[in-house]
Symmetry: C2
Subunit: 307 residues, 2 copies
Amino acid sequence: MRALVTGGAGFIGSHLCDRLIARGYEVWCIDNLHLGQIRNIAHLERRPGFIFRKCDVAEAGALDALCGEAQFDSIFHMAANSDTRAGSADLDLDLRLNFTTTLEALRAMRKHDIKRLFFASTSAVFGEPAFKLTELSGPLQPVSTYGASKLAAEAYLSVASHTFGKQVVVLRFPNVVRERATHGVVEVDPGRLEVLGDGRQTKPYLYVGDLIDAILLTWDRSSEPLAVYHCAGIGETTVREIAELIVAAVGRPTTRIEYTGGDRGWPGDVPKFSYDSSKLRALGWTPHYSSTEAVREAIRRIRANGF
Amino acid sequence: MRALVTGGAGFIGSHLCDRLIARGYEVWCIDNLHLGQIRNIAHLERRPGFIFRKCDVAEAGALDALCGEAQFDSIFHMAANSDTRAGSADLDLDLRLNFTTTLEALRAMRKHDIKRLFFASTSAVFGEPAFKLTELSGPLQPVSTYGASKLAAEAYLSVASHTFGKQVVVLRFPNVVRERATHGVVEVDPGRLEVLGDGRQTKPYLYVGDLIDAILLTWDRSSEPLAVYHCAGIGETTVREIAELIVAAVGRPTTRIEYTGGDRGWPGDVPKFSYDSSKLRALGWTPHYSSTEAVREAIRRIRANGF
């Protein structure tokens, strides 16, 4: 099995590469190193079956050239601008990194006869719904360019599956935590921890290992043209709780938590959402960490690793 | 009131220009003349308050330059590749004409402080749903690049409304008929009428005058950031009925109807869908023509006008 992992040096992509290599896949990991970092995959670089290439998937023809080098069975399309805060300031950032990359993956699939694609999607495709979201829920009214660009990508992948004969697995992630993360809702300096928003934003956090389990399970078990799953952990955590866990772990006794105020961290942040992930659960998926345990474990590992 | 109508020389856009001029608006009609035709607006060219410019909205900066000439109150974004059959063969056609044009409109709105936008959307954002569609329905899984490009555009307009402070009205059209149309499910030569598909595709058709009523009503009555409406007429018509009405009107006694076969006209055609338009009805909208009457009236007018 020869898989192409876009964004493979990123936070989640690198953990996926670990697990695909452990399964015996040949893994071609590509990354433009915009958010991805070589340190995330340094431990893989001498493993047999692991190939890294610096490659910007959004660049027209880049993926086409790569697919000329080897026949891939599948693409795990993890490349994205996951920093939704940066995307809210710049209309083109998410468009290029989330949507254009997906179109380029789709073009490469059609030209090089690649049959299957996994897509890393997001709860942000929904905007700010007031109810528990299933895979069949509507409406989809994103409030961030991040969510809009992912929804636009999903729309084209739907066509790829229903009309162009490809098989696509879409997993809509919740907020995911662990080491190798690139950004978040808190910023620390020695005496002071700044929290974006009023700290009452409440979300289900998931430990990255549990997410990779969900990726592989949905990948192994889906054969319908378009398989969509929601992935959420157990319970929810407020941003205030996260801040307090961080201060307890790394702060000094005098560290102050300062809230920037407002009901959201940045324009386009969604302060609260709730997933129904019973479809994924029915496949046998059970997360090992609850939302707050996931946050605690991430803090512990970041302290141990230094990143 | 100074309105910019993109795609204003098109089938529906030109009818909208007629009505906006009749209301006393100053109308700047722009069109790249890809599907739009000068003959559709020839009767308006000497009317006071009507300005036509040939302009390709998808071209970066074109709309920006135009918006430097006059301060628009609103944009009616009608420009699109409405030929879903052509779009199914070419990934970029709908992308450019439906999605990129919308992004360019959004950029111009942000830069030039244009407050409101009307968007001509489509039932095709849904794909092939098995149930009656409300504005809150999900999932949205388009099967054509036409539907995908319109859903991608809706996604960005959702952000424009919820996060960038714009007011957006989205009306999702059914199939619309009348003179000035550019393409469709039947092709005629003197002795033979070719029907794409098996003729059993069943859709609600709407007469264009009834659609323009819906556009203006939703435009006048909506003040929420993002107002979405479904527009469908009364009843449905099969493609077979349309073919028989055409042959009865213009055929010779010996004209044969030939079906290309298959359950749809082309890849990405949706053979059947059903709209719940009670939200639009609640505003007081009532179509004057039923689906089959709309088809009959369109045939009558095309015969009378020659196009």
